[in-house]
């Protein structure tokens, strides 16, 4: 066992799973403090192992593919061998740190936030289960192991969205998330099958190593390399999990879950799984630049589209949800322009500032007696100073104000989109600049809707009713503590990834350098380009903030009202999320419902229920009714039937009488046969036919039981005598062998 395999990676997902198991089985008997101790302790343990692995064991082996821990051989059949194995390399290690660290903070926060929740233990059990599944997802060494985690986080997402399942809306939001994800998972599975068919392996390291221009993955199939189709199928999976067009619709509804869940699952970790997967299979995607173009364009389109929807949402968490969709779009645009480290960088910064924003949302809703309606907020700056401070930092980070983390990561993506040359290979050179331009617009939008949110919530006078205003209070320190840590991360976390092109110091981009071993080197962006786009995005961020200040500074201002009055239809359309849900309802759900209804009414009810099932019953019933007419319960009638039956049997079995043996008398070649029975009166009316050579043609026929015949030549013969009873149309026959040459019968 060498250094790379001696580290117990399995502990990282195992600890949360143990925590979840204990809490599910015994949690309800524990005190609240005990529940938090177990849940947070499990994550803290996982975090400790992850940090130890990352900072002590990993650096020495990162270049050789990182740490690997094989637990056991999971599947071994034919050519396929799948180990239950975990791998921590530069990429999965980073994700591990994010998950365990932010997961731990959110566990702490939840301890305060869920204080009044009766189902305390169940919540923490699910949260632990989620962390374990997510860690399996990122640490999985092969696609099936990742898929287990992939499904596991989907399940936990479903369970936690519908945590307050007694309300129908929450339960159906959970179902929507789950079903939408199933659509994507189908793509993931097909992609996995294709990969196996082409490469014969499912391990990420081997797939990436086999993704060369000469491998089976590069073979053209319907005009595109196979890698394109594999990438497409996997990307469909990613659009489901990471809420991209066209499968983004579940994420805004997922806000029905408790806010810490939104922060952890639906902002910081789970939804980034799609980005992670694309980065994980970077070599495969690079093999098909056209597929990368699709990834980048879908990402950019989602970024802009979701940002626009975010303009008009009036629910705190809905704004953040569309913001998350939009930021995920940025990440996909990043990985889609073959700028993998920038996508992962944004994933990392986003995890901090978006988790911070969501936890602020929770804190604000805590203060506002549970309401998330931003039209009824305002003036929280003085009332909840800590929350305000954290929100301020996270807001500046997501807007892309320099020095804050989002600035560096967003800029790395935008500049990378303009600088990338990967699309030239497939004559799609326009994609890079197009994606970059869309992203700049989306960045402007981001800045605007986030500033709108900030001003409406924190500035000006409060618009809440008197009762609510009276109760506004800062959250307890167990909630504020994690917020402050996240704010520090959101503020300064970007400094680990200062783009090399900015100051001409590539070594300052610690993150890009670090990820080189896992996702390839950082995209090189020329100094001028870098500086230019940093300037542009800074200007855009400030324009967005100023514009929002003009519209919403201190509450709804005159320009905002005027705009809403000037284009009420448009505002309503945006507020209704462009009615995409209604479109899906009309185009997909309704036809399926109608088809189901048709199948139910015609196939199920008529064909199966009535004709097949009912038919069998009807036939049985018919025979039953017939048979029942005999079942009178009258013993004498039974006897009568018995007598009739016995008579029929006797009739069928009866045969005209014949002796058990024919009497044959031979003299020379002449034989005399007597078929009468000894001592019995011969029955009248019987006809006897004698066939002396058994050829089917009787030589003698008549009413006499005796016959005489002379053979032409000697030798053995078979004599057959048949008796016919014309009254009952019955026959019986008997045979006998004679040898006329020897002059005796047998």
């Amino acid at each position: 066992m060498n250094a790379a395999e001696s580290f117990n990676l399995r502990l990282i997902p195992l600890l949360p799973f143990i925590g979840a198991t204990i809490l599910i089985l015994f949690g309800r008997h524990f005190k609240r403090q005990t529940v938090v101790m177990i849940a947070a302790g499990a994550i803290a343990g996982a975090a400790f192992v992850a940090f130890t692995g990352f900072f002590q064991a990993l650096p020495s082996v990162a270049e050789e593919g990182g740490l690997r821990d094989v637990v056991w051989t999971w599947i071994a059949t034919g050519d396929l061998t799948v180990d239950l194995a975990f791998r921590m390399d530069a990429l999965s290690g980073l994700l591990c740190l994010i998950i365990t660290f932010i997961g731990f903070l959110i566990h702490l926060y939840s301890a305060g936030y869920m204080e009044h929740e009766p189902d305390y233990a169940r919540f923490f059990a699910y949260l632990n289960l989620f962390c374990g599944s997510m860690l399996v997802l990122v640490l999985g060494d092969s696609m099936p192991v990742m898929f287990v985690g992939w499904e596991g986080v989907g399940l936990c997402s479903y369970l936690l969205i519908g945590f307050w399942y007694s309300e129908t809306a929450n339960a159906s939001a959970g179902k929507k998330a789950f079903i939408t994800n199933r659509v994507g998972d189908f793509g993931f599975l097909i992609g996995m099958f294709l990969v196996f068919q082409a490469t014969g392996t499912l391990r990420f390291s081997e797939i990436n190593a086999l993704s060369t221009p000469t491998s089976a993955l590069a073979v053209a199939y319907h005009g595109m390399p196979l890698a394109f189709w594999v990438g497409l199928c996997l990307f469909i999976g990613a659009t489901g999990k990471s809420a991209q067009i066209p499968l983004y619709v579940w994420l805004p509804d997922a806000m029905a879950g408790p806010t810490p869940v939104s922060a952890l699952i639906h902002a910081a970790t789970m939804v980034t799984a799609g980005v992670y997967m694309v980065a994980r299979l970077h070599a495969l995607y690079v093999l098909a630049p056209a597929m990368l173009a699709i990834v980048a364009l879908v990402g950019a389109a989602t970024a802009l589209f979701a940002a626009i929807i975010g303009f008009a949402q009036n629910d705190f968490k809905k704004v953040l949800a569309y913001s998350t969709v939009s930021q995920l779009g940025f990440m996909f645009a990043g990985v889609g322009t073959a700028n993998f480290s920038s996508g992962v960088f944004h994933l990392y910064t986003h995890a901090f500032f978006k988790a911070g924003l969501f936890l602020c949302a929770g804190s604000v809703m805590h203060a506002m007696s549970g309401s998330g309606d931003i039209t009824k907020m305002g003036g929280l700056r003085k009332l909840t100073p800590w929350t305000h401070g954290v929100f301020l930092v996270c807001w500046l980070a997501i807007c892309g104000v320099p020095i804050f983390s989002g600035f560096f990561s967003k800029d790395a993506i935008v500049a990378g989109a303009f600088a990338t040359e990967i699309f030239e290979k497939v004559h799609l050179g326009w994609v890079g600049p197009a994606v970059g331009s869309i992203l700049l617009l989306a960045a402007l939008g981001t800045s605007f809707y986030m500033s709108r949110l900030y001003f409406l919530v924190f500035s000006g006078p409060s618009r809440a009713d008197h009762e609510t205003q009276h109760h506004i209070h800062e959250s307890p320190s167990i909630m504020v503590g994690p917020l402050v840590v996240l704010a520090i991360g959101a503020g300064l976390g970007g400094l680990v990834g200062i783009p090399g092109g900015l100051f001409g110091h590539p070594e300052w981009n610690l993150l890009g350098e670090w990820l080189t071993s896992a996702v390839g080197p950082e995209l090189e962006v020329p100094h001028q380009t870098e500086v230019m786009f940093m300037g542009i995005s800074t200007v855009l961020a400030i324009i967005g903030i100023v514009l929002a200040r003009v519209f919403y500074g201190g509450g709804y201002r005159e320009p905002a009202r005027a705009f809403a009055a000037a284009a009420p239809g448009f505002v309503k359309l945006v507020r209704d999320k462009f009615r995409i849900d209604e479109l899906y309802d009309a185009v997909i759900i309704k036809p399926i419902r109608q088809l189901s209804s048709f199948l139910f009414r015609v196939v199920d009810r008529v064909l199966i229920d009535q004709i097949l099932v009912g038919g069998v019953a009807a036939i049985t019933d018919l025979f039953g009714r017939l048979a029942r007419t005999f079942q009178t319960g009258d013993g004498q009638r039974y006897m009568a039937w018995f007598a009739v039956g016995a008579a029929v049997l006797v009739f069928l079995a009866s045969r005209p009488p014949l002796p058990s043996e024919l009497k044959v008398n031979v003299s020379g070649t002449t034989v005399t046969v007597d078929a009468s029975r000894a001592g019995r009166p011969s029955q009248r009316g019987l006809t006897y036919s004698f066939d002396f050579d058994d050829d089917g043609r009787p030589e003698v026929q008549g009413t006499s039981a005796e016959a005489r015949y002379t053979y032409d030549k000697g030798g053995p013969h078979t004599i057959r005598v048949t008796v016919h009873d014309p009254r009952w149309h019955k026959e019986s026959s008997i045979t006998s062998k004679v040898d006329v040459g020897s002059g005796s019968n047998n």
Binding site: Q631, T632, G633, D634, G635, Q636, M639, A640, A643, P681
Partner: protein, 100 residues
């Protein structure tokens, strides 16, 4: 000695009378008597063939059947008593419990 044929005719006649009694009469006592007639018709046929074929097995069977007939009469009469106790009649039309 009379030919076997006449004995068989008698046996047949007895059997038919017994069967008719069983099937047509509604008095359970008469039905039991019909069964006795059938058994004895069988006995007669048994003995006739035994004599005609010179085989003694028929005699043995006849004794067996007499013993069984005695047992059957005892059991049958006991059932009749039971039936009468529960229904105050031995009319078979009243005893149609087998119907349901």
């Amino acid at each position: 000695m009379l030919p076997s044929f006449y004995y068989l005719c008698l046996s047949f006649a007895l059997f038919v009378i017994g069967t008719a009694g069983i099937l047509l009469r509604r008095n359970a006592l008469i039905v039991l008597m019909g069964i006795e007639l059938q058994l004895n018709a069988g006995n007669l046929a048994m003995l006739t063939y035994s004599r005609a074929l010179g085989d003694e097995k028929g005699h043995a069977f006849a004794f067996l059947i007499i013993a069984i007939a005695a047992a059957e009469a005892a059991v049958g009469l006991a059932i009749l008593v039971g039936l009468f106790r529960s229904r105050q009649t031995i009319n078979l039309d009243e005893a149609s419990l087998m119907k349901r």
